[in-house]
């Protein structure tokens, strides 16, 4: 027996067989781990998204599962999912996924607007790869909060926000940009303009 085994180990097929067996074993282990964690990862992603949608609509986030079903309906438009919030069947606002190129990669955000597109309700950053501490600060509240209640459409003209230095007082159509991260601040302002134009054209066409 021992002699035969030694002979097989010297053949050319041995490395192939060995690699095959070890690959099957380890892939098997990984597949099991993946299955075990899959549901949890999915759950978390869904929960995060719901929480963000609730946030941009400025709805309560204590009981997300219930409140989301109560206030928010998911709509689809040309493969893009967007959200409507209603209270007693009165439309309170839309929430759209918006995106644009940042300095290092694509920035994804959710933007909620009033049903007439006149005002921004709130904005939430979903995903970004900007420089931590510089462009990454677009996720900070002081920066996002500036967009709250800003006028988007005035006399059928879509507002484009003007960026001003961080410590100056901003007027109605102005946004304080992040020092050292002009590109990231600009990216956000640009993507709001571009995507709101797109959604408005499809839903209302009053521009």
């Amino acid at each position: 027996m021992a002699n035969e085994k030694k002979l097989f180990r010297e053949t050319r097929t041995y490395p192939v067989v060995f690699m095959l067996i070890i690959t099957v074993i380890f892939i098997g282990i990984l597949a099991t781990f993946y299955q075990l964690s899959f549901e949890k990862v999915q759950q978390y992603r869904e929960m995060q998204l719901k929480k963000m949608v609730m946030n941009v609509f400025e709805l309560p986030t204590q009981n997300i599962e219930n409140d989301f079903a109560k206030y928010v309906t998911i709509q689809e438009m040309e493969d893009i999912l967007y959200y409507e919030s209603r209270s007693d069947s009165i439309l309170l606002g839309y929430c759209f996924p918006i995106s644009g190129s940042g300095l290092w990669g694509t920035i994804h955000a959710l933007l909620a607007v009033t049903p007439d597109f006149e005002k921004i309700i709130n904005i939430e950053i979903v995903d970004q790869n900007e420089t931590p501490g510089l462009g990454g600060r677009i996720t900070e509240n002081w920066f996002k909060d500036q967009f709250k209640g800003k006028i988007l459409i005035n006399n059928n003209i879509l507002n484009s926000f003007v960026l001003i230095p961080e410590n100056e007082t901003a007027k109605d159509n102005e946004i304080n940009q992040i020092t050292g991260a002009t590109a990231s601040s600009k990216a956000l302002v640009d993507m709001i303009y571009k995507d709101i134009k797109k959604y408005n054209l499809k839903l209302r066409a009053d521009l």
């Binding site: 180990r9 041995y14 490395p15 060995f18 690699m19 070890i22 690959t23 380890f26 282990i29 990984l30 781990f33 993946y34 964690s37 949890k40 990862v41 978390y44 995060q48 790869n129 420089t131 931590p132 501490g133 510089l134 050292g180």
Partner: protein, 197 residues
């Protein structure tokens, strides 16, 4: 070699980062926050210890010519387990570490220990060696992250330490500062050694 000796050697006297200059890429990438560095370190300790153990366990059966392939497969499997675990249970940390967890696979320390130690020694010794090398690596990461987070964000582990009077140094947040910090660290540690001999 005694177990304790193996540990001390791989963690400090032959520290992978400052003696062998291995695993530099990730040491530069994740060290702007203490928490990220700690989690990265734990991931590397886990991978190093278990891949060393596994490789040592089957070292007699691994055909010499394809040993690198086998090592990579085993290392990659453990790294993916770490990645899945973080994604499922610590999604926030997983998000802030981004692609760097997956890149533990290419961390030269792990392949280095597999080649230099696990392929020739018993499973338990390899496990200890892996933990040692991992702790040595984590130790370096934490030192660099300590300075970078303190000066760059004014905080440690996300807790604000320096007050309003402190102006954050943007450079500490970005990659160049990691180069400076790592070079200074290697300089400080290796100078007395060179004087001696």
């Amino acid at each position: 070699m005694k177990k304790k000796e193996i540990f001390i050697t791989s963690a400090f006297t032959q520290n992978s980062v400052w003696r062998q200059i291995l695993g530099i890429c990730s040491a530069l990438a994740v060290t702007n926050l203490m928490l990220n560095s700690l989690v990265m370190g734990l991931g590397v300790i886990f991978t190093l210890a278990l891949s060393g153990f596994t490789i040592s366990l089957i070292r007699e059966y691994i055909p010499k010519r394809i040993r690198m392939m086998v090592q990579t497969l085993i290392i990659a499997s453990y790294v993916i387990i770490v990645d899945l675990f973080l994604k499922a249970y610590y999604p926030e940390i997983s998000k802030s570490l981004g692609p760097y967890v997956g890149l533990i696979i290419t961390n030269c320390i792990i392949m280095g220990r597999a080649e230099a130690f696990a392929g020739k020694n018993s499973p338990i010794d390899s496990l200890i060696d892996g933990v040692g090398a991992g702790i040595g690596y984590t130790f370096v990461l934490l030192i660099i992250a300590f300075v970078r987070e303190l000066f760059g964000f004014g905080s440690l582990f996300g807790i604000l330490i320096l007050g309003d009077w402190w102006t954050n140094w943007s450079i500490m947040v970005m990659a160049p500062s990691a180069f400076f910090m790592l070079a200074i660290l290697i300089w400080i540690i290796n100078t007395p050694r060179q004087r001696r001999g």
